[in-house]
């Protein structure tokens, strides 16, 4: 009996011979991700934690990234509570401020592996599909329950097969491709579904795959995964994970899908998601000339080395336009260091950009780059919801690192193919 990626992982992990969409199974995830929300999560179960303890100190991964360094007394207290919890229960996988954005840290540290199940109290947990991991977001209460029991239920999802053909033409990037797909499928086009990327995926680097998997939730997907291939294995090896450490899982050729879609990568052009919905995607031509007060390169979607490189190529030897400002957030300390060694950070600084610590800050409107009423921002983030960057009367446009860099030079949304190098 042929099965999809999701069916195979969930069958294996629930000790069932086979499972079908709609079936509810009980699973024990390999890891549970939390970030700054670990404080409110553990506060829900203080008495139970004292009584029963954490089910397994290796289960949780805690990364402080959302408001780092602390912006005020409340967020500082929040971080302090988390550090106390980590010490008290000997939590193995704790990453304090500066290590990076949780989703980048999890993969860099080899904590999400092919064939595993990782649940996280953050919607972009689906990012780990890039390395063939079944990963999805849950709420805080469920994270609290998992800390105590180590198990939960999952409904076996229907699956959508996305066939990718050909290659992207740089500076067109994976961000343009996924925005194009979300624009086509709609913000709920993959709701409750497991999305599988098939076809010419070898043309996509691991960084590209993270962008694609990360944004799966923006079309409602439960998980968005790639097959494990040599690119994945090489990446994991560079993170210190040997091929014997995991057992990859992938869909059978004759698996049944709710829907199949096909995209020709060679025909994808730079695109921009207009306010206030991620699926409000238009061609760069329609966006050109819109003035922007702020430009942001970073986040769990596009803060990786190749993203910073793509932006630096455009910015090198040139200046950010005086009517705008450019913020850069490398996704992790490792990436920050690599970018520094390659001279990329210097290129940003020379161009007039503000380089911020590796964290989430402005993306969720917490601090370090909140917008004012009437302002417009172009960002490499994954969401442009009204109020997302801290102000409901501001507008957020989403684009690729190259598009944001090009826009920073001109002060208005620009086609990276025209601003050139």
């Amino acid at each position: 009996m042929s099965a999809t990626f999701a069916e195979k992982v969930l069958a294996k992990r629930s000790q069932e011979k086979k499972v079908v969409p709609g079936q509810i199974v009980t699973v024990k995830p390999d890891h549970l991700l939390m970030h700054d929300n670990a404080a409110p999560i553990t506060a829900k179960i203080t008495a139970e934690l004292d009584k029963y303890g954490v089910v397994n100190p290796e289960l949780p991964i805690i990364v402080l990234d959302h408001v780092i360094p602390a912006a005020d007394e409340k967020t500082a207290t929040n971080h302090k509570k988390i550090r106390d919890f980590v010490k008290k229960f000997d939590i193995t996988n704790f990453f304090d401020i500066g290590c990076g954005i949780c989703h980048q840290v999890v993969v860099e540290k080899g904590l999400s592996l092919p064939g595993q199940i990782v649940l996280g109290s953050d919607s972009h947990t689906c990012s780990y599909g890039a390395v063939g991991c079944f990963a999805t977001g849950i709420d805080r209460t469920e994270a609290a329950a998992l800390l105590l029991t180590g198990e939960t239920w999952l409904k076996v999802p229907e699956s959508i097969k996305v066939n990718l053909k050909g290659q992207l033409n740089p500076p067109v990037s994976a961000k343009d491709l996924i925005l194009h797909i979300i624009g086509d499928m709609g913000a709920d086009g993959a709701n409750y579904c497991s999305v599988e990327y098939h076809g010419d995926v070898k043309a996509l680097s691991i960084d590209d795959r993270f962008v694609m998997s990360n944004m799966g939730v923006e079309m409602g997907a439960k998980t968005a995964a790639f097959k494990v291939d040599r690119i994945t294995a090489n990446y994991l090896r560079s993170a210190g994970i040997d091929r014997t450490a995991y057992e990859s899982v992938w869909a059978d050729k004759k698996a049944k899908y709710l829907m199949e879609k096909e995209y020709d990568l060679s025909r994808i052009e730079p695109v921009v998601a207009f306010p206030h919905k991620v699926d409000n995607v238009k061609s760069i031509g329609e966006a050109k000339g819109i003035s922007v007060d702020q430009c942001l390169i970073g986040t769990c979607t596009n803060g990786r080395l190749s993203d910073l490189e793509a932006a630096a190529i455009i910015l090198k030897g040139r200046q950010v336009h005086p009517d705008t400002r450019l913020l850069v957030l490398p996704a992790s300390r490792t990436i920050y260091e690599q970018a520094a060694r390659k001279g990329i950070i210097k290129t940003f600084l020379d161009s007039g950009a503000v380089v911020l610590p590796s964290g989430c800050g402005p993306c969720l409107g917490a601090h370090q780059g909140v917008l004012a009423p009437g302002e417009k921002c172009i960002s490499t983030a994954n969401r442009n919801f009204k109020g997302r960057m801290g102000c409901k009367d501001a507008e957020i446009y989403l684009g690729s690192p190259a598009t944001v860099a090009a826009s920073a030079l001109t002060g208005e949304i620009s086609d990276p193919r025209e601003v050139g190098q």
Partner: protein
Amino acid sequence: MKVWKYGNDVNTDMLFPGKYCYTAGTIDEIKEHLLEDLDPSFAKDAAEGDIIFAGSNFGCGSSREQPVLGLKAFGIKAVVAESFARIFYRAAINQGLVLIENRDAVRAYTGSEKVSLDLDSGELFVGEKKFTFPPLPPEIKAIAEAGGLLEYTKHKLKEKKE
């Protein structure tokens, strides 16, 4: 009983702005900012027993449970939508907030019909039109009946360990 009506893709930032996620912790603080950027009148006027009607993809976006906690704290009897985003759906189960996915019911409501809802019989009336909704699967129902996932978990742990 008031009916609140909203459109498609009501996201978690509209339901509860991200900027308050790490500052507003108490249920009163959550209620104060609930739906702030979508409908400022909601936090002022919502009351026990009210029902929300919404379009498709209600609750899309972050894994933010404050919207569910807030709606539950206001005593919202049910959210009836054409469809829900999955993390929101899961969070609602975990708090025992009633969600009803029914496109026809949402489209039948134009703003003036009398609405009544009987959770026990699984019947929703919009004007003269009757809509039925299926019961929850047993695994999920057990969580709802325990008063939410935390109560369910605490009970299970107690049984297991004592």
